[in-house]
Structures are given as C-alpha cells and as structure tokens.
Symmetry: C2
Subunit: 221 residues, 2 copies
Amino acid sequence: MTRRDIPDATVARLPVYLRALHPLVTAGVEVVSSEELATIAGVRSAGLRKDLSYLGSYGVRGVGYDVERLASEITRQLGLQHPWSVAIIGMGNLGHALAAYSGFATRGFRVQWLVDRDPAVVGTEIAGMRVVDFEQFAATVTEQVIAVISTPPVAAQEVADAVVELGVRSILNFAPGVLSVPSHTQVRKVDLATELQILAFHEQRGKDDARIATDGIEASG
Amino acid sequence: MTRRDIPDATVARLPVYLRALHPLVTAGVEVVSSEELATIAGVRSAGLRKDLSYLGSYGVRGVGYDVERLASEITRQLGLQHPWSVAIIGMGNLGHALAAYSGFATRGFRVQWLVDRDPAVVGTEIAGMRVVDFEQFAATVTEQVIAVISTPPVAAQEVADAVVELGVRSILNFAPGVLSVPSHTQVRKVDLATELQILAFHEQRGKDDARIATDGIEASG
DNA sequence: AAGACTTTGTGAAGGCATGCACAAAATCGC
DNA sequence: GCGATTTTGTGCATGCCTTCACAAAGTCTT
Ligand SMILES: NC(=O)c1ccc[n+]([C@@H]2O[C@H](COP(=O)([O-])OP(=O)(O)OC[C@H]3O[C@@H](n4cnc5c(N)ncnc54)[C@H](O)[C@@H]3O)[C@@H](O)[C@H]2O)c1
Ligand SMILES: NC(=O)c1ccc[n+]([C@@H]2O[C@H](COP(=O)([O-])OP(=O)(O)OC[C@H]3O[C@@H](n4cnc5c(N)ncnc54)[C@H](O)[C@@H]3O)[C@@H](O)[C@H]2O)c1
C-alpha cells in the first residue's frame, strides 16, 4: 500500500501540494480538508484525494488531513528529506539568474557547482560561489547530483554526454532541442519560446474559449 | 477539415515540430518523411503523422512532407505569421536574463516592454531597452500583448490582476504559486523547483526505471 | 449511546492520448 | 502502362487520467 505505483500525473502534482502546504505549516494550521487544500493548490478536491490516496491513508474521515504529517509524507515520497546537490552548467544570462535564485534552497536543493568553459568566466564569483571549469567539476563531484544545462543549444548535447559520463542520471535542460541520453537517464526540458507559442495559439484562436494550464490548473476564485 | 479541433497534446507539440523543421528549411531540404522528422523532434512517427493530420493533408504518400509548406502551415496554425508583443514584468535576475534572451525574437516574439516598480530600476537600460513603470506600460500598450510575470511571488497576483485589467488574456508566470484569473484568460506557469522535485522523485525511486519527459520525449538515438 | 453530520477513499464511467497496423495513394522502374 | 515500393492518413484497441458519486469511517451533539 505504501509502495503502490504512483502515476506520473500525480507525481507532477505532489510538488504543487507541498508548496500549497507550506504556508499552512508555518502558520501552525493543524488540519486541512481536501476542499481547502485543493483550492490553494488550484486543483479539484476529488483529484487531490485520489492523488493523496496513492501515498497511503493519511487523512481522517470527517476531519481532513494533518498538515504536518501530510507535508512530511510528501517530502519523504519526493525524496526531499535531505537536499539534493545541483550543478548549473553554463553561466551566461540564465545561469546567473539560476545561481541567484533562492527558490531552490527553500525547496530541497543546494546549488553546489557553477560550471562554465569560458576562461573569462571561470574563477569569477557569482552569488557567492566560485565558477569552475568542467574538469574541476568532474574532479570534485562524488555524490548524486542533478545537472542543470544552461549553455547555448549547440553545446547542450556535448554537456549532456559529459555529465552522463560522470554518472549523472537527472538533467534539467533549458537549451531548446532534443537531447540524446541513455535510457536510464531522465531529462526534463524547459522551453520558454514553446510556452509562448502555445499561449499564442490559444490567444489567436480562442476568442471564446481559453482556460488550459500547463500541468496544474489556473485558479478560479 | 482545416478547422478541426486540435487536441491540447498536439498543440503542445507543434512548437517542437516547428523548431525541428527550422534547420531543414535553412539547409534547403525540400522534403522530409515522418520518420526523419520524428527522430529530429524526439517523438514517434505515428504520433507525428496523427498530429499533422489535424492540420489537414499536407503530406504526399510515398514521398513525405514539403518542408517549407509544413513549416509555414504550422506557423500559420500557431498564429506566428506576425510576431507577438511581449511585456516582461519584474526586471530582477530572471527578468534580466529573459530580456537578453535572443530565442524569443527568433521564434515569433518581440519583447516590447520591460516593466518594474522599483524606482532604482525604472529608467535604466537593459538589453538595449528602457525599463518603464507600470503606469507608462499601461499608457502605451494598445495591441494584443502576452505578459511574462517575473516578479517575486508575493507581487504576482496583483500584477496579474493589473494586466488582466489592461486587457491581457495570456500570461506566462514564473512566480511559484497559483494565479486567480478570469476564465477567458490563460495562464501557463514555469516552476523550476517543481521540475527539480520531479527529477528527484524519479532519481530516488527508479534505480531501474527512468525515462519520462516533460511533454516531449527524451531522445533515443 | 445513538443519530446527525462531515469528509475521506475508491469503484465505475467517460474522455483523451498513444501506439499499432494497414489500406490508400503516390512515385519509380521497366 | 503496370507492378513493386514507399510513405501517408486513420480506424481500432489499449491504457491512462479525470470526474462523479457514494459507501465507509470518523467526529460532534445531545
Ligand atoms: N536567457 C534566457 O532567458 C533564456 C531563456 C530560455 C532559454 N534559454 C536557453 O538557455 C541557454 C543559455 O542562455 P543564456 O541566455 O544564458 O546564454 P549565454 O550565451 O548568455 O550563456 C551561455 C553560457 O554557457 C557557456 N558555455 C558554452 N559552452 C559551454 C560548455 N560546453 N560547457 C560549459 N559552459 C559553456 C558560455 O561560456 C556562456 O557563459 C541557451 O540554450 C538558451 O537558448 C535562455
Ligand atoms: N531567478 C531565477 O532563476 C528564478 C527561477 C525560477 C523562478 N523564479 C521566480 O521568478 C520571480 C523573479 O525572480 P528573480 O530572481 O528575478 O527575483 P528578483 O527579486 O531578483 O526580481 C524581482 C523584480 O521584480 C520587481 N517587482 C517587485 N514587485 C513588482 C511589481 N508589483 N511590479 C513590477 N515589478 C515588481 C522588483 O523590483 C525586482 O526588480 C520570482 O517569483 C522567483 O520565484 C526565479
């Protein structure tokens, strides 16, 4: 029961629920109903309950869910009890912003390496961290690490190959284009122009309809 | 037939196909088969053909698809014949990177306004553009515009309310959290910490399995 | 202690998306 | 001009996700 197979769609929403729970935890709220939490998270209550049921039975009928217990259970399921190490590769405009982003640390990640190949960038300090070249990165990385690729598109594949070679099995890719990786490696991509193009399609077409959200759901009230 | 209803999943992949076609167009390739294009785009050929069939019959059996015609048809369907105006609101770390990003211009978008509320930022120049405050933005915006929100999370809702008030119906939101908007407004959100958390889940769990991609598909060869 | 009330957990149904397999349609070679 | 070959377009089956609806299980009131 604890180890049922969790559907992909549910996994993608667990982070949303966790973030929705956070203010409740800090506010000291003890219990929350699926209805309330669903509103905060921007989903339907029935779907929320079904999602949570995959984690086991952590609610109490007639009452709701214990906020702290639920948060800690989702945290455990996502594997966020201990922070993950992250390496950002490609310290250009986007890499700078990512390095300075505080949202990673508060949500279970520790940016541990800033990597670039440009000798003019290597050795400089960004957001309090020293930028290293790939060799230094390769020499110091030991633990499990998630690689964030923010190099130009033309360099993305070679960077992916190199980090896979180092044993990395999780990649977040900002460079538009398809990465070829071994089947045991997972890649998630963020393509901002694609997002805008999807918006453009609906804006152009749906003079009437218009709703649609990425994977969560846009709120109502 | 031209105006069949295009499924959301297909719409989300059209930008991928368009990007896959681009190098072929510039290389002067005249025809491409669904097999070849699917490989470039990182999808299955059967799915690609089904997706394209929603646009109408633009392939020739036994031959393939006319590269230029297909690209122009997808461009038309996405509403990208003419560039869309984009306003970036919140010129911090992320806003800077977005303003400097050349990938928007090459894929159908023109960043026309950089907006911030901080008097120390308003009036400065970023990536060759002058930063304005919201009042100046509100006074000069006339045409259809897509709003990109890159303010801190706490300001995101009020900014969304303000741009909706101006008539904006498409929002790309980088601030984590749920936005409440009228039903005729579409919101897409990009939440990087969520992406990392999904990667963390699979990395922690799937010692064996691991595949999964955002909405596209990670490549094979 | 029992009945009223609340809210979870889930079975069942419907809708979408994906993948398969093949007929239809076009070209090419002779 | 015809048969072999290639590749599209799509009907069908399968599986996944979402939504509905309600029984089960708990609390609260009296
Ligand atoms: N800037 C944005 O807002 C934005 C938005 C969406 C997507 N992207 C994508 O993100 C990527 C980075 O964008 P950017 O604007 O920061 O580009 P950029 O040119 O400013 O920075 C790229 C950096 O990568 C480094 N680099 C190049 N090859 C490398 C290698 N092999 N190993 C390590 N480092 C290497 C360069 O030295 C440079 O510092 C691009 O693929 C871009 O398409 C950027
Ligand atoms: N930096 C990143 O890489 C990154 C990554 C993912 C998500 N985000 C999110 O993107 C948003 C921006 O991040 P950032 O690092 O650039 O933050 P930042 O603090 O560097 O910049 C925020 C900017 O928004 C401006 N601002 C605040 N309120 C405003 C308002 N009402 N109207 C207009 N402008 C306003 C501020 O003056 C500031 O310039 C945040 O919500 C953050 O969570 C950032």
